[in-house]
């Protein structure tokens, strides 16, 4: 029967060859491209402080053009060919070197000379000052760049920028002596406290990439002095490996290699990213050889490519994970024993196999296991129904009795657009929990509604989430982002988790100068989060791409966007 299925698949593929012709034929430019990537969408905007910054396809566009201050040395390829970074070895990109004075809490940034933008402008301290000034202005739709500098305790980057007192806010939005230009190639940055996150965050291109100030200022207007409209709708001038060639929102974006790029011109001179909404159509087009790269397939679809001729799949267990949200403000999820019971009822191995075709593993902590500072739990939650039943009884719901009163709370929400990926996962979870008489029903909701309820309203009672990842490579960064309480400065604490013990540890860890002591505090925080099941980590799954077997050099960066510069034949 399996051979019948394969034959059927082959027949379908031949039959659908014409469909891929349509995809390729839709654009002459794509046919002539050195590299054609088929994606689920193209960038909706290119401004790091723009409204679409959270969209992976938007981020993918930005990172081709924006140049970061630092990144990490490559460690070498994993077993699938994906080149991984060595997080212990940061290297300068736009920075040639840097000095840190722990007494004065200052960073002296020595900028690389001879770097030219797509427009031919030379990179100088003015570009960095402009970039930081723009971040502090918080004039965009989202204060993304400001947030990471605030997180890094940079002097002047305070919450005063959001003051309701206009005079206070206006004054706070002006760069003070926290950032100083010493000369054209030297900038000094002042911190208010010891905080390693400033340096870590320099590698986050989608937030801390540097603009070509001259080009940006050319497009400033009185109403839009920081050129948000230009960056969001026309171009993103920077010093990156690629320059924008053509961009039709909702359809296609193409790039030309930056002839002035300081690391040498990219191998692929011309890259076209074309929107093909249906994953199956992207898959077919790659198999027929008319595209060199695809993304956004589900695990089963990637799995089907593994035996295909001329095609390969590269994947990495990087920083993508699936977890269950149980909102502390929704009864009965304020009951820790109940949370633990659910943690012991989850069928982890089945989810790995059914949801991810084996391209995942149980997540045994709350931050990505590939990150420095990750603490694997001594006794992680496992599928143990006897223990789950015992905990359920301890929680006051023996055999699930009494939980019917909370039927509404047990609506398991997930993004309906991800049904192909998440459907098998939520079915496995609901089957397992219903076996314990936990009255779970499924509640697929549109992405926009899910995002609103997760980020703005924070009222998702019970939900599955696979789209949050900490881009800054630091355990503290991850925990500040997702678990520190709102009162203590937490940002995306969708569970409304508030634990004074955790907040106090974060206050200490944030300014801890001794790395060993900091690691201990961060480890304690992770243990608390796992004990309380602050969120329920389920699996870490692979970030994958389908490629022509002629394309090599794919590198993994924590934003999960491929860097076209690294690709070669």
């Amino acid at each position: 029967m399996a051979s019948h299925s394969r034959r059927a698949a082959r027949t379908l593929l031949i039959g659908l060859g014409s469909l891929s012709c349509l995809v390729a034929g839709a654009t002459g430019a794509a046919r002539a491209a050195d590299l054609l990537l088929l994606a689920e969408d193209v960038p909706s905007g290119l401004d790091p402080d723009g409204p679409s910054i959270a969209l992976p396809t938007t981020q993918e566009g930005m990172v081709q053009m924006l140049e970061p201050l630092i990144d990490y040395e490559p460690k070498g390829p994993n077993d699938s060919g994906f080149v991984l970074p060595d997080f212990s070895k940061p290297r300068g990109r736009l920075l040639e070197a840097w000095d840190y004075d722990p007494k004065a809490l200052t960073w002296t940034l020595h900028l690389r000379k001879g770097v030219k933008s797509c427009a031919g402008n030379e990179f100088t301290a003015d570009d960095l000052i402009y970039t930081y000034g723009r971040a502090l202005s918080t004039s965009g739709a989202v204060p993304n760049a400001w947030f990471l500098l605030n997180m890094g305790s940079i002097k002047g980057f305070t919450n005063d920028v959001f003051s309701t007192d206009k005079a206070v806010a206006d004054a706070a939005k002006k760069l003070g002596d926290g950032i100083k230009k010493i000369d054209d190639y030297t900038v000094v940055v002042q911190q208010t406290e010891v905080n390693p996150l400033y340096f870590v965050n320099m590698a986050v291109t989608i937030s801390q990439g540097v603009f070509d100030a001259k080009e940006m200022q050319k497009h400033a207007t009185a109403a839009d002095p920081w050129s948000h409209d230009y960056a969001n709708n026309v171009n993103l001038p920077s010093f990156g490996a690629y320059c924008l060639e053509r961009w039709v929102k909702d359809s296609q974006i193409s790039y030309r290699a930056n002839p002035n790029y300081y690391r040498g011109k990219a191998f692929y001179d011309h890259v076209v990213v074309k929107k093909v909404p249906e994953a199956a159509n992207r898959l077919v087009t790659l198999r027929t050889g008319q595209a060199q790269m695809v993304q956004g397939l589900n695990a089963h679809q990637y799995d089907s490519l593994k035996d295909a001729k001329g095609v390969k799949v590269e994947g990495v267990l990087g920083n993508e994970g699936l977890f269950v949200v149980m909102n502390f403000k929704t009864k009965p999820f304020d009951n820790i024993k109940l949370r633990q019971a659910i943690a012991y009822a989850i069928p982890y191995e089945r989810i790995v196999q059914v949801g991810y075709s084996g391209q995942a593993k149980q997540w045994e902590g709350v931050i990505p296991s590939s990150y420095p500072g990750f603490v694997k739990q001594a006794q992680p939650y496992s599928t143990d129904l006897a223990k789950a039943k015992a905990l359920l009884a301890e929680a006051g719901f023996p055999d699930g009795k009494g939980l019917d009163a909370y039927k509404d709370a047990f609506k398991l929400s997930y993004v309906s657009e991800k049904e192909a990926t998440l459907g098998p996962v939520v079915n496995a979870i609901s089957t397992a929990l219903r076996a314990l008489n936990i009255p779970v029903t499924l509640d697929p909701i549109p992405q926009t509604q899910y995002g609103d309820r997760q980020i703005v309203k924070k009222d998702l009672g019970f939900a599955v989430n696979d789209q949050e990842k900490p881009i800054g490579v630091d355990a503290g960064y991850a925990m500040k982002l997702f678990f520190v309480s709102k009162e203590a400065g937490g940002i995306n604490n969708m569970m409304n988790y508030a634990n004074p013990e955790l907040d106090a540890l974060w206050v200490k860890a944030k300014i801890e100068g001794d790395p060993a002591a900091r690691n201990k505090e961060l480890a304690d925080m992770q243990n608390i989060l796992m004990r309380d099941v602050a969120w329920l980590p389920v699996v870490e799954f692979k970030t994958q791409f389908g490629l022509s077997d002629k394309v090599n050099g794919l590198t993994w960066v924590t934003d999960n966007s491929p860097r076209f510069y690294d690709l070669k034949n």
């Binding site: 029967m1 034959r7 199956a280 089963h300 192909a420 098998p424 079915n427 089957t431 029903t441 697929p444």
Partner: protein, 302 residues
């Protein structure tokens, strides 16, 4: 309506139905409808697996056709383990169990929606056809406006506004299908109103309301009842369509449209069974209801 009237109708209709009974297509359609009705009642009870429990291996293909007789014999004789006759889907849910359990959802929604549409449409049509004034003309224009929107789009909007639940799907379909009955009923009432029996009743001193209810209404119901068969078929199709686009019933409820939608992404990979079997079921059902409607209409007209 007197018993003599019923006798007359029966004498006129039954022989024609008898004549049609020999028609192969009619028999098949009738049998399918009967089977679907039966499955709506007992489907979930006779399914070999729980249609909402995902504990089998995902994407198990159906057994080879040559193996079916042996497996069938084993199943009937109670030997061996239950078989996934139509394979399993991406979640490991048994496709056969879901296909035979789905009529309860689909048919319930369709029959209830049609029933409520009749409840709205028949009285409104009777009023509009018998008592013609500015009020009933307004009613007809409202009905026209409702009919001028594409049913599927309107259903999506109504469900989105009211919230995604079975009750709201029924309500939306009932509202959208009721204008069909209003118009049909009105046309038939206008025909009946010109007949001598109405004049005779008036002459006997019956009130207009009494004439409308006692004489015009029973004689005008035929076309609406014939239309019901077609409407139920289309309501099933619309329910499935709503589920296909994510606006219908929620997973893991066994429902044909939802099954087709969830299985569609696997077709390219050769995993055709999660969506093809519910597709066949829905096609057969809608076709059978439409064929039956056609038969009833011909019987009524002749």
């Amino acid at each position: 309506m007197s018993s003599a009237d019923f006798t007359l109708i029966r004498e006129a209709t039954v022989p024609r139905l008898r004549r049609l009974r020999g028609h192969g297509l009619t028999i098949v359609a009738g049998l399918v409808v009967l089977a679907i009705l039966l499955l709506a009642v007992i489907g979930p009870s006779i399914s070999p697996f729980d249609p909402t429990v995902a504990d089998a291996e995902p994407f198990l293909p159906p057994p080879n056709l040559s193996a079916w007789p042996g497996l069938l014999w084993a199943a009937l004789s109670g030997a061996g383990t239950p078989v996934h006759w139509f394979g399993t889907d991406a979640s490991g849910l048994d496709v056969f169990s879901r296909v035979i359990s789905a009529p309860r959802t689909d048919l319930s929604i369709a029959v209830l929606a049609n029933g409520f549409a009749l409840l709205i449409g028949v009285p409104a049509g009777l009023l509009a056809g018998y008592f013609r004034n500015w009020g009933t003309e307004t009613l007809m224009r409202v009905s026209d406006v409702l009919q001028s929107f594409p049913v599927f789009i309107s259903a999506m909007i109504l469900v989105a506004l009211a919230g995604q639940s079975t009750v709201n799907i029924v309500a939306a379909l009932a509202v959208l299908y009721s204008p069909i009955y209003v118009r049909l009923m009105r046309a038939e009432v206008m025909t009946q109103g010109a007949r001598g029996m109405v004049e005779a009743s008036r002459a006997l001193g019956s009130s207009e309301v009494a004439i409308a209810i006692r004489h015009v209404l029973p004689n005008s119901l035929g076309p609406t009842l014939v239309q019901s068969s077609v409407t139920i078929g289309f309501a099933i199709l619309l329910t499935a369509g709503l589920s296909f686009v994510g606006a219908g019933v929620r997973p893991p409820t066994p429902e044909w449209g939802l099954m087709i939608s969830n299985g569609a992404s696997g077709i390219m990979l050769g995993q055709w069974w999660p969506s093809v079997f519910p597709g066949i079921a829905i096609s057969l059902t809608v076709f059978s209801f439409a064929a039956l409607g056609d038969v009833l209409e011909r019987a009524y007209r002749s």
